[in-house]
């Protein structure tokens, strides 16, 4: 039974599966970084839809029109998580670029540390 409210969760599952598939099967480092970012967005979507209440307003008490409010904590969490995600992806991209400069390849199968 897919209602409008559970639609985001379906999207989350699809996004997570997509990103995992990319991480498992894509050899290009940039694509793996993209997969990480997609997964981060999926988790953010998950958090934000947890706090959503149908017909709710923004959780600001001052001048509030009354009625249901969406939960404030997930929004704070998501904001933090977005920032962290950006930092992580930026760092990963910089590693990938430096790695490309040294190894001359983007292929994860050409890695040298093994055994």
């Amino acid at each position: 039974m897919v209602t409008m409210l559970s639609l985001p969760f379906v999207a989350v599952v699809i996004l997570v599966c997509m990103s995992l598939a990319a991480m498992l099967f894509k050899r290009n480092m940039i694509k793996i970084v993209m997969a990480v970012h997609v997964m981060g967005s999926a988790v953010n979507l998950f958090l934000i839809s947890l706090g959503y209440r149908e017909g709710g307003v923004a959780p600001i008490f001052t001048n509030s029109p009354g009625g249901v409010m969406v939960l404030p904590a997930p929004q704070a969490l998501t904001l933090t998580s977005i920032v962290i995600n950006i930092a992580v992806v930026a760092l990963m991209l910089s590693f990938a670029v430096s790695l490309y400069r040294r190894y001359g390849t983007m292929d994860t199968r050409k890695m040298r540390l093994k055994g």
Partner: protein, 509 residues
């Protein structure tokens, strides 16, 4: 001032991290003094936390509240709460002590290997950030802060892994970053699942809710969180990233990396003991199985390695396996005597692990400092050049493989004599692991230290590095000869804190 020690112990290194970059402009000497002073101050705060816990028992600290001990003014916790008990205070103390030692060691080390200047500034701030992350993970009482600090340690340590700016160090850093991003996202996913049911993020409050109804979704969340943390601490079968990282990270940071995976062990046991304690039998067996697997795989993969640091990294996977063996048995036999004994062995092994493997990595760093090499087959005959280094190595070797009368033996003895009650095969695996561990390090000793005298250029090892290594060695001997010191003073409060989930919930609710 001192009542805010739990917050300050995290905040101070965080502040010092960013300030050290600015202060670095004034000169490297001033910066070193600044970093050293701030580490010393943090260390004093950590010591104070331990003393406070001994007096007051478990207590909570609410960030930003008027009355810091009042965690839940409305019946449920509203702010970020730090919980200080025997275990978290011990972990905080260990993290700061190791960082302090590593910083003293690293001054001359980094000067030689990276040339000081701007990069030394970066090094200092990253190390302090790393420390702040570990402390945060150790002291936090809620899940989301845990996630934030986890990311903080990941980002700062990944930058440290790439510190030498070689191709292979970027490779290790890239792998590490992918792994830690996945790890953090799975953790966050699990946290979200719990939040969706209870609307809470505080661990103790969630545990309190879970006593009444433990749902299917909780089980999924438990699995996600536990596997994420297992990835973080590098248990088999998700240990591969760890060897790459330890091989490429500067030796002084490798010591901290060991501590950070021990913090991971702490987080794992905190979650399993204090939050999901109703599943303890099952999770305990899971940890025990993965721990024994880690021992076997870690030690057997260490044997054929050709790089000194990579080899010690595999050995550290096995040592983490021992800790998991002890803690898992403690979980599976939660109400029995042998469970408590095994848990104390595991917690004691956390301390020993940091000391023994820490010493090993420091020695590997000293060898690298002196010769510029870490490949085992390229070295040889160092004992002719530096007897002190080889004596240190022998001490570390015997301690890691648990030969009496060193500290590793005590914790392993405690574990063998308790985990066999759960299943005798576990003790057999432990004993086998420790003889294989011995052969790993005998191989290193034979090929790096013995043989005909070393011919190449051998740089004299500076006093600051030797001193730190000897401090580690003396602590190893001290804890070996007087295990009661650690067992009574540090381990037993920690064990009580882990087992007393009622008290843990009580300070919040």
């Amino acid at each position: 001032m001192m009542e805010h020690a739990p917050a300050l112990v995290i905040a101070f290194p965080l502040f010092a991290a960013f300030a050290s970059h600015l202060i670095g402009r004034l000169g490297s000497r001033i910066r070193d003094i600044w970093v050293f002073a701030s580490l010393l101050l943090t260390w004093l705060f950590a010591v104070f936390l331990n003393l406070e816990v001994m007096q007051r028992g478990t207590y909570a600290y609410t960030l930003g509240a008027d009355i810091s001990s009042l965690a839940s003014p409305a019946g449920f916790p509203v702010r970020i709460v730090l919980v200080i008990d025997g275990m978290s205070a011990l972990i905080a103390f260990m993290a700061v002590s190791v960082t302090l030692a590593s910083f003293i060691y690293s001054r001359r080390f980094m000067e030689r290997v990276s040339g000081g200047g701007e990069s030394a500034d970066r090094y200092c701030s990253l190390v302090l950030l790393f420390l702040a992350g570990m402390l945060g993970m150790g002291l936090t009482g809620d899940f989301f802060t845990l996630f934030v600090f986890l990311e903080m340690t990941s980002i700062s340590s990944a930058s440290l892994v790439a510190f030498f700016r070689k191709g292979s160090s970027f490779e290790a850093a890239f792998k590490y970053m992918i792994i830690s991003a996945i790890n953090a996202l799975f953790l966050l996913f699990g946290i979200g699942m719990i939040y969706s049911q209870y609307g809470l993020l505080n661990m103790a409050a969630i545990a309190n809710e879970m006593v009444l109804n433990f749902s299917f979704l909780d089980k999924v969340a438990l699995s996600l969180i536990v596997s994420a943390i297992l990835l973080k601490l590098g248990s088999v079968p998700v240990h591969m990233w760890k060897v790459d990282v330890y091989q490429k990270v500067p030796s002084s940071v490798a010591v901290m990396c060991i501590t950070s995976s021990l913090v991971g062990i702490y987080v794992l046991s905190r979650i399993l003991f204090s939050v999901f304690f109703s599943m303890s039998a099952l999770t305990g067996w899971m940890i025990v199985c993965l721990g024994s697997l880690s021992i076997i795989v870690g030690v057997s993969m260490a044997l054929p390695q050709k790089d000194l640091k990579r080899m010690i990294a595999y050995a550290s996977i096995a040592e983490i396996g021992y800790v998991m063996l002890g803690i898992g048995t403690g979980l599976a036999g939660m109400s029995s005597t042998f469970g408590t004994v095994a848990l104390s062995g595991g917690v004691f092994h956390i301390i020993n692990d940091a000391l023994d493997l820490g010493l090993m990595f420091l020695i590997a760093g000293a060898v690298f400092y002196a010769t510029g090499k870490t490949g085992i087959s390229k070295l040889g005959g160092i004992a002719h050049r530096s007897a002190s280094l080889s004596v240190l190595f022998i001490i570390g070797m015997l301690a890691v493989s648990g030969i009496p009368p060193f500290n590793g033996f005590v914790s392993k003895l405690i574990m063998y004599e308790s985990v066999f009650c759960l299943n005798p095969v576990l003790s057999v695996i432990g004993i086998l692991g420790s003889i294989l561990m011995l052969s790993v390090f005998v191989k290193v000793f034979a090929s790096v230290f013995l043989g005909s005298p070393y011919k190449g250029k051998f740089r004299e090892i500076p006093l600051s590095m030797t001193a730190v290594m000897w401090i580690f060695a003396l602590l190893i001997i001290l804890l070996g000869l007087f295990p009661g010191l650690a067992l009574d003073g540090l381990v037993s409060p920690a064990v009580e804190a882990l087992l007393g989930h009622g008290i843990y919930m009580g300070v919040i609710i």
